[in-house]
């Protein structure tokens, strides 16, 4: 287990528990009562910690190194997944993966950002920061799904689109813009899930859909708290304040009407019980697709565009 700074009280409780278990294993002293007590205390402490998370703590949880990523969910949720590579123009971006699969007996095109799980694979995946080729691959797969009337599910988890020289050279802005434009008109249902970090255009580039959901310990906004701090506070030291000011939690996003719902995570985060998290996600996808699939395609597109058209608060003055 890796403990985040605000989870430290739990670490010592778990250590105590381990010691008690050792004593229990020896079998000489009856510690059943003490274990029960400690378990209660752990549950209590967990609830206390996780029910009052700040914006920044959500950001930390969304980046937890043990958090499940796209390919894990695909493996757990889908059968017969075939990964489809390449944008057919330039490259196969490793920061975005996608392919055809079955969720029970339903065909889906599932696409998501992918982060690595160790130093080597993190670099291989470019830390989940896609180049234009990733967005173009995603669009190619989505257009294919549309041709064969296959619904689309996207899993969002990125610290942002990659700000590199070649990314600019190959049109990072154009690639993202094109996806926003094309996704708005896709004739098949599109479901989007923020499963980790939802940073800016890099997230939105695969995030325009009929319904958008966020897992409980994720964030979604226009800029990372660190970058926001560096631009507005002119220092990297105000990331906690920036995270609060940006109101980037799922609860805020839901209250703004910018997402459709929040999906509960196991207590402590998705990484505590990834299998359970995947089961919840699978059931959710099935239920949502069940509602969206029977809709008339033109009607679905009209509702989708109206939804985005209504996003944003302003006032009318004389």
């Amino acid at each position: 287990m890796i403990y985040l700074d605000f989870e430290k009280p739990l670490e010592s409780l778990y250590e105590q528990m381990e010691k008690l278990r050792d004593v229990e294993a020896e079998g000489t002293v009856d510690v059943a009562e003490s274990i029960k007590e400690l378990e209660k205390k752990i549950q209590h402490t967990k609830k206390e910690i996780y029910s009052n998370l700040t914006g920044w703590q959500r950001v930390q949880l969304s980046r937890h190194p043990e958090r499940p990523y796209t390919l894990y969910y695909i493996e757990q949720i889908c059968k017969k997944f075939t990964e489809l590579h390449g944008d057919r123009y330039f490259a196969d971006d490793k920061a975005i993966v996608g392919g055809l699969a079955k969720i029970d007996n339903l065909s889906v095109m599932i696409i998501g950002h992918q982060k690595g799980t160790n130093t080597k694979s993190r670099q291989y995946r470019n830390f989940g920061m896609a180049n234009p080729d990733g967005y173009r691959k995603a669009l190619r797969l989505m257009k294919m799904a549309e041709r064969f009337n296959i619904p689309i599910v996207t899993l969002i988890d990125t610290p942002g689109a990659y700000p590199g020289l070649e990314a600019e050279e190959r049109g990072q802005a154009e690639a993202i813009a094109r996806n926003l434009f094309e996704m708005a008109q896709l004739k098949v249902p599109v479901l989007c899930y923020v499963i980790g970090e939802g940073a800016s255009g890099g997230a939105l580039g695969i995030g325009v859909g009929d319904k958008v959901f966020m897992l409980e310990n994720t964030w979604y906004t226009v800029i990372s708290p660190e970058s926001c701090s560096s631009i507005l506070w002119r220092s990297w030291d105000h990331k906690e304040e920036a995270a609060e000011a940006l109101k980037l939690t799922p609860e805020h996003m839901l209250s703004f009407g910018l997402i459709d719902d929040i999906i509960k995570e196991p207590l402590g985060g998705a990484h505590v019980d990834p299998e359970k998290m995947a089961k919840t996600l699978k059931a959710h996808i099935k239920a949502e697709l069940g509602e969206l699939m029977p809709q008339d395609a033109e009607e679905r597109i009209r509702i989708r565009i109206d939804k985005y058209d209504n996003m944003g608060k302003y006032q009318i003055v004389e």
Binding site: L180, V208, F256
Partner: protein, 291 residues
């Protein structure tokens, strides 16, 4: 050229806040340091007579350059609200108040409709002077309404971008303006109405990654900075110097992301040439399905 003369008194936005302009009479080119009288500069459409540098100008300046005399401003009544009660070292409210005072505008996007060499056009134009031309909910809503207006009145749309990107103080609301504007542009496309995206210095961030790159025709002023990530961020990421001319209009043209670059003095003529190539009458339904 006749429209030079139309740039009357009161279009001084480009020069208003320049310290190096004693008594508002002289302007110093920020590139070659050439001193030009304001009058002469204005007659040159705020292009430096010596080095051809295109000084940043306001939405009003562009409307004056493009339209045949009279034009109608639209949707000026839409203003920002500080939904998030956002505050960094300064509150969003006070940033807005400063911007209102400084620019006399209601936001960083202004919309106007009129005729360009007798051909109808609706123009949405950004002002860099208003919080760095940042895109918040007002920008998205004005684009949305401009598109509705274009569809109802069968006019083509031109958006003139000049922006540092999304308005952080509106957080996710500003992010979603990218999706909103892009989604609405699909409706314009379905109606068979052309959209011209004109990028001016600078066009970066979420603005580039949404409506600015989605023109049926994408073009720009010479030497404009156009990109997704800012040069400083890229430099910090790749840890080496950027090549000369990186993210300029000329660089984007070379890499296939612009249709052409247009000198400000040729802008009006170029736009009317293009407008003349499009039939904006409502296409019959067969054509709509074919698209």
């Amino acid at each position: 050229m006749s429209w030079f003369k139309r740039l009357k008194e009161g279009i001084q936005t480009a020069t208003k806040n320049k310290k190096e302009t004693p008594d508002g009479l002289w302007h110093k080119c920020i590139r070659c340091s050439e001193m030009t009288t304001i009058k002469e500069l204005r007659e040159h459409l705020y292009i430096c007579p010596k080095c051809d540098y295109h000084t940043r100008i306001s939405s009003t300046d562009y409307f004056e350059i493009l339209f045949d005399g009279k034009y109608t401003r639209l949707f000026d009544e839409i203003k920002s609200v500080d939904v998030l009660e956002f505050s960094d070292i300064k509150s969003y409210k006070s940033r807005l108040d400063d911007a209102y005072k400084k620019t006399k505008l209601n936001d960083s996007m202004s919309v106007a409709t009129g005729k360009v060499n007798k051909l109808p056009l609706t123009v949405a134009c950004m002002d860099f002077g208003f919080i760095g031309g940042s895109m918040g909910a007002v920008v998205g809503e004005k684009i949305s309404r401009a598109i509705d207006y274009c569809i109802a009145n069968r006019t083509p749309l031109m958006i003139i971008s000049k922006s540092g990107g999304a308005r952080m103080m509106e957080s996710a609301y500003s992010l979603m303006q990218m999706a909103k504007s892009s989604a609405k542009l699909t409706l314009l496309a379905k109606e068979g109405l052309p959209y011209f995206s004109f990028m001016t210095d600078p066009t970066t961030g979420g603005v580039t990654a949404s409506y600015a790159m989605l023109g049926d025709i994408n073009f720009s002023e010479p030497e404009a900075l156009i990109g997704f990530a800012g040069p400083r961020v890229i430099k910090e990421t790749i840890k080496r110097d950027l090549p000369e001319g990186f993210q300029t209009a000329e660089y984007l043209l070379e890499h296939g992301f612009l249709d052409f670059i247009v000198h400000r003095k040729d802008l009006k003529c170029k736009i009317s040439d293009l407008l003349g190539c499009f039939d904006t009458r409502k296409p019959d339904s067969e054509l709509v399905t074919a698209s």
